[in-house]
């Protein structure tokens, strides 16, 4: 697989600006950094743009952020395309992001992937017909002690197997938000029971 998943021109808005609420938050973020290093704010600003714009970042937002932080737009593009948490095209209402990096894979992420694909009926990068879910393969999310895991929206669901994965997806489909964290009775990352 290759190529970037960027929304086609016809979906791209002509202009993008932060609304009053997000603009205020952007100012707070930029103020955290010295003026000469304000490009450090690029990641939180991209996140803000994504939250304001319904879960994806349009081209215009990237250009706007580049202008605001006085950095070349290609540098913002590099950041926005590097991290899996930024989406450059509209995706599902809930983004199911499955980690398949080595620790998760050793602990059975293949089963989790299969459960997601079977239950949602879509492959990686695709969106369900009702627009509720999209499925994504992501690199390590830093929760290896509770592998395998998935991230749905802002929460981590950990210590999964096929059954618990399916249960979580069913709950989301019903409009519920299941309890995040380990799904096998563990508390946090305490030693697994023998």
């Amino acid at each position: 697989m290759s190529g970037l998943d960027i929304a086609p021109d016809k979906m791209q808005p002509k202009a993008f600006a932060f609304d009053a609420e997000h603009d205020a938050r952007a100012n707070v973020i930029i103020a955290k950094y010295p003026d000469a290093k304000k490009q450090s704010a690029v990641m939180p600003l991209l996140d803000l743009a994504q939250r304001q714009h319904g879960g994806w970042i349009p081209r215009a937002a990237i250009e706007m952020i580049a202008d605001r932080l006085e950095m070349p737009s290609i540098r913002v593009w590099e950041v926005a395309t590097f991290y899996t948490m930024y989406f450059l095209a509209p995706k599902g209402q809930h983004k199911v992001q499955v980690c398949t990096t080595t620790p998760c894979w050793l602990r059975g992420s293949d089963d989790v992937v299969k459960a997601c694909k079977d239950h949602l009926g879509i492959g990686f990068g695709q969106v369900t017909e009702d627009g509720k879910f999209s499925l994504h393969e992501v690199e390590c999310l830093g929760a290896c002690v509770n592998a395998p895991m998935i991230q749905i929206d802002d929460d981590y669901y950990e210590d999964l197997d096929a059954a618990s994965t399916t249960r979580i997806l069913e709950a989301f489909a019903k409009g519920e938000t299941p309890e995040h964290g380990p799904q096998n009775g563990r508390r946090g990352s305490e030693p697994a029971k023998a």
């Binding site: 290759s2 970037l4 290609i74 540098r75 590099e78």
Partner: protein, 675 residues
């Protein structure tokens, strides 16, 4: 100054040097892809692995490892050999191995190093990754599947060119080099073709044209601007196929501007390949040398010396100007067709960049008066940027010029800015003042020159005055005294008098950069290579040679005389320019006293010793120059409005036309924003 051992050889390297540099010091070759002397260290190709003791029991990337005291480095141990094989196998996993159809074939780092350090087979049985090719403008062709992600191109555009247009999008296996489908609006973009260690970025105009081993390589000097970039002219048979930069630390380092690299397809168009003489019906008719020279000789002999004018063009070599000066003694001579007001009596220090191009690296402040180095001397501009990046360096600009690749302080559009210049320079130890042709070619040019002289710091170890020339022939012409003598007429007077009839005959040596329609009342002889403005106005055309077709001496803007060698022969009946003048002298019964180029050069160097002192640079003699006077209020503008088309060759070049179409609009917009 750490001392360390490389394969048993003890070397001492400067503090801060890397292990790779220490290995080179010890004479060991370290293979590399991402590392480049002039770029920041990326350390991502892993090809330069070496074994270092003491240290962890694994190979280390020598390009990113600082050399340490008492280190023991092994560049060819079994661990290193094994590691290199592994890296090479990894790099080739996704490389298409399409060398037979790749333009880089034969001069490819990956190919060479795979032969030297790789294994003969692959264990990879899965599908290779394929990447969609990217659009990077009319100059750079991309075949992105070949990319090994060394990021040299990204770093070059960011650091040297100062136009951060290329980025590495995505991550891991999905990483792609991209400009987001925009052309690279930089004057130095062609250099990424040289930097690319594989065939991912290749020359678009040169695609599938030739193999490197078919090419005859000749060392030349570029004449598209006054930097005097050292070039290698690659030709096959009668055709110049490409131009590459040669290393010269004091002139161009290893860079070349896009115009110099890509305008060569203009050498095949609009060529004057036969003598032409205007017939009784007013139309130019093909003729032969004997007849054409006869017409010219008769006309010149019939012209009083005071009614004959000779104008030398921007790309004329010193030999030709010297021969013309000897032959047309007493005529009105001028090599300053742009009309710059530097008097013929001015000392050498008045018209060269005294501190040298590399001298800007020692300057702590730079004042640009009506100069736009980005388009007037793109390669030199990279050096200004290099100095700027080191810090402690401010650039002040007076004039309406485009955006530079470094931060500048705008002091004013016109002469009013000169009033603020003294404050700007105040406190600097080694300020450099560069005057552009745009400021000197005005009616008040001599007064601007005097102002610039007054602003310059000149002492025993620093001469900060310089002129940013745009024509390769200009300094040589001034050195030779190819300027009007006493009572002589300059270009403007020649044109005016040609209109009124006071000048009867005008001999143009490749001079095209003025309104040639003003010559219609005069008898015009055009000696040159391409049919441009001058040839259209001509009554007789004598086909000369373009720069790759003759051996010539050129003096760059810092006063460095350099010699270019002949790579190919002029097309058709074209001849080397000095020999045309020699033949004409015979027809005029005033035979010049030399029969070959060596004889000419001996005479030229006797008359003008600086031209014999090849590749030397020193500040010129200092003295009085310029004329104190009132300044007009009009803003200074650059003499180069379109970087891609400044001379007959680049105007005839289809590649430069494509660049103008793609980037010209952007340049205009930029000019408006700043105007």
């Amino acid at each position: 100054m750490p001392k360390l051992k490389v394969d048993g050889v003890e070397v001492e390297v400067p503090a801060g040097a890397t292990v790779l540099q220490a290995c080179e010091e010890a004479g060991k070759e370290i293979p590399r892809f991402c590392y480049h002397d002039r770029l920041s260290i990326a350390g991502n190709c892993r090809m330069c692995l070496v074994e270092i003791k003491p240290g962890p029991p694994k190979p280390a990337a020598s390009c990113a490892m600082p050399a340490g005291e008492n280190m023991e480095v092994f560049t060819d141990s079994p661990m290193v050999q094994h590691a290199r094989k592994g890296v090479m196998e990894m790099l080739l996993i996704n490389h298409p191995l399409d060398c037979p159809i790749c333009d880089q074939g034969g001069e490819c780092d990956l190919q060479d190093q795979a032969m030297g350090y790789g294994v003969s087979g692959s264990r990879f049985e899965e599908n290779k990754r394929a990447v969609v090719d990217k659009y990077m403008g009319p100059l750079v062709q991309t075949i992105m599947t070949r990319c090994i992600h060394c990021t040299r191109c990204v770093r070059f555009m960011d650091e040297i060119a100062g136009v951060p247009a290329i980025g590495a999008l995505g991550r891991g296996e999905h990483m792609e080099i991209s400009t987001l489908e925009a052309g690279i609006a930089s004057e130095l973009s062609g250099n990424i073709i040289d930097l690319c260690p594989v065939g991912a970025l290749t020359s678009k105009p040169y695609a599938f044209v030739a193999r490197p081993w078919e090419l005859q390589k000749t060392e030349g000097i570029d004449v598209m601007d006054a930097v005097g970039t050292n070039i290698r002219i690659d030709a096959r048979g009668p055709e110049v196929l490409r131009v590459l930069p040669r290393l010269h630390e004091d002139v161009n380092e290893e860079w070349l501007s896009d115009k110099s690299r890509f305008a060569i397809d203009g050498l095949k168009r609009q060529r004057l390949d036969k003598p032409y003489v205007r017939g009784a019906d007013g139309k130019l008719k093909a003729s032969n040398w004997d007849a054409a020279l006869r017409v010219v000789a008769d006309k010149i002999k019939a012209t009083e010396p005071g009614k004959l004018a000779v104008i030398a063009g921007d790309q004329t070599d010193c030999e030709t100007m010297f021969a013309a000066k000897s032959l047309f003694e007493g005529a009105h001579l001028d090599c300053r067709q742009d009309g710059m007001k530097i008097a013929g009596s001015a000392p050498r220090g008045a018209y060269i960049l005294n501190a040298g191009l590399a001298g800007v690296e020692e300057a702590d402040r730079l004042l640009l008066i009506g100069a736009d180095p980005r388009v007037e001397a793109a390669v030199f501009n990279a050096r200004i940027r290099k100095r700027w990046l080191q810090g402690g360096f401010k650039v002040g600009v007076i004039g309406q010029v485009g955006e530079q690749t470094y931060k500048t302080e705008h002091l004013g559009d016109g002469p009013d800015g000169l009033d603020k210049a003294a404050d700007f320079i105040e406190g600097a130890e080694r300020p450099m003042v560069l005057v552009g042709v745009g400021a000197l070619a005005r009616a008040d040019g001599a007064a601007v020159l005097a102002k610039a002289r007054a602003l310059s710091t000149v002492n025993d170890d620093w001469n900060g005055f310089g002129v940013l020339h745009t024509a390769a022939s200009r300094v040589g012409g001034l050195d030779l005294g190819f300027v009007p003598g006493e009572d002589g007429k300059d270009v403007e007077a020649i044109l005016a008098d040609a209109e009124s009839g006071d000048i009867e005959t005008v001999y143009l040596l490749g001079a095209d950069e003025f309104d040639a329609s003003r010559l219609q009342n005069a008898f015009v002889i055009y000696q040159g290579a391409l049919g441009d403005a001058g040839a259209h106005a001509a009554d007789v055309i004598l086909p000369g040679a373009a720069y790759p077709e003759k051996s010539g001496t050129y003096v760059n803007m810092e006063g460095r005389a350099q010699r270019s060698q002949r790579a190919v022969f002029p097309p058709g009946d074209g001849r080397e320019d000095w020999s045309i003048l020699r033949a004409l002298s015979g027809a005029m019964d005033a035979t010049l006293p030399y029969n070959d180029l060596r004889g000419l050069r001996e005479a030229m160097e006797a008359a003008c010793p600086v031209l014999g002192d090849l590749d030397a640079q020193a500040p010129g003699e200092w003295g009085a120059f310029g004329v104190e006077g009132a300044l007009e209020s009009a803003p200074f503008v650059s003499s180069v409005q379109n970087f891609y088309m400044t001379d007959p060759i680049s105007r005839a070049s289809p590649t430069m036309a494509k660049c103008t179409a793609e980037f010209g609009a952007a340049a205009e917009k930029q000019a408006e924003a700043h105007g």
